[in-house]
Symmetry: C2
Subunit: 144 residues, 2 copies
């Protein structure tokens, strides 16, 4: 299965935040949207970084609550691993496992075109298993 | 593949925290261990709840930094979905997808016997794909 199929189903919208926003803003956006990460972007199209709930836990543990006054730029991961729409789900699973990410932004022609979470890849694996089980059952019971 | 096979490889140790610890303690334990969740348990054997990095984001966003002075009991999820060692990886993937969890504690004879993260299930899926690809390749190239 390709990443484009997941995006066709879940949509291509990505929650972004500006690099000069504060970590208070990140906290609010993550909580209100139920997101695990935000892509950092000034124009909503070009990726400048990614900031996750794990990053918040890290800075809060290391620097205390005043760390939330800091800006996104100083906490985000600037070097973001991305994939294209034509990547396979298996490839993205490998990226997540090797680098211990839970979110991979999708880029098309240099522009942010979606985001895949570890939950999305697990869901697509489950869906594929269900389709396989169903077609096997149809075969066994002779209904096709 | 069964959950017991993942536990045989990763081990059965689970990071726990007492229900009367503070959320400051949770923050520190999550950060130091690189964990995404802690099982809440007084004796380290019986599950009383689970507390995750997402829970911290939620209480911080809703109540501010002073929420960290509160205890684990008031923030944890008390009704924890668990699985047995003989559950299949596919079953646990389904639980995670349906309920949007990322951690499922393993219970054997009423006692905490491990924990499976969404990263573990993705890694085991990747490993299984690799084994399949290898045996297919051996078959095609006639080396077995």
């Amino acid at each position: 299965m390709r990443i484009s199929e997941i995006l066709d189903r879940k949509g291509t919208q990505v929650a972004t935040i500006r690099p000069d926003a504060t970590l208070h803003d990140v906290l609010r956006e993550l909580e209100q949207g139920g997101f695990g990460s935000l892509v950092v972007s000034t124009d909503g199209r070009t990726i400048e970084g990614i900031v996750t709930e794990r990053d918040l836990v890290r800075v809060l543990a290391q620097r205390g609550a005043s760390a939330l006054d800091g800006d996104v730029r100083s906490t985000m991961t600037a070097s973001v691993v991305t994939c294209g729409r034509d990547a396979t789900v298996d490839e993205v699973m490998g990226m997540m496992t090797n680098s211990r990410f839970r979110h991979v932004p999708v880029v098309e022609d240099g522009v942010l075109a979606g985001i895949i979470s570890i939950g999305d890849v697990v869901k697509s694996t489950i869906d594929e298993l269900a389709v396989k089980a169903e077609s096997l059952e149809s075969y066994v019971t002779g209904t096709y």
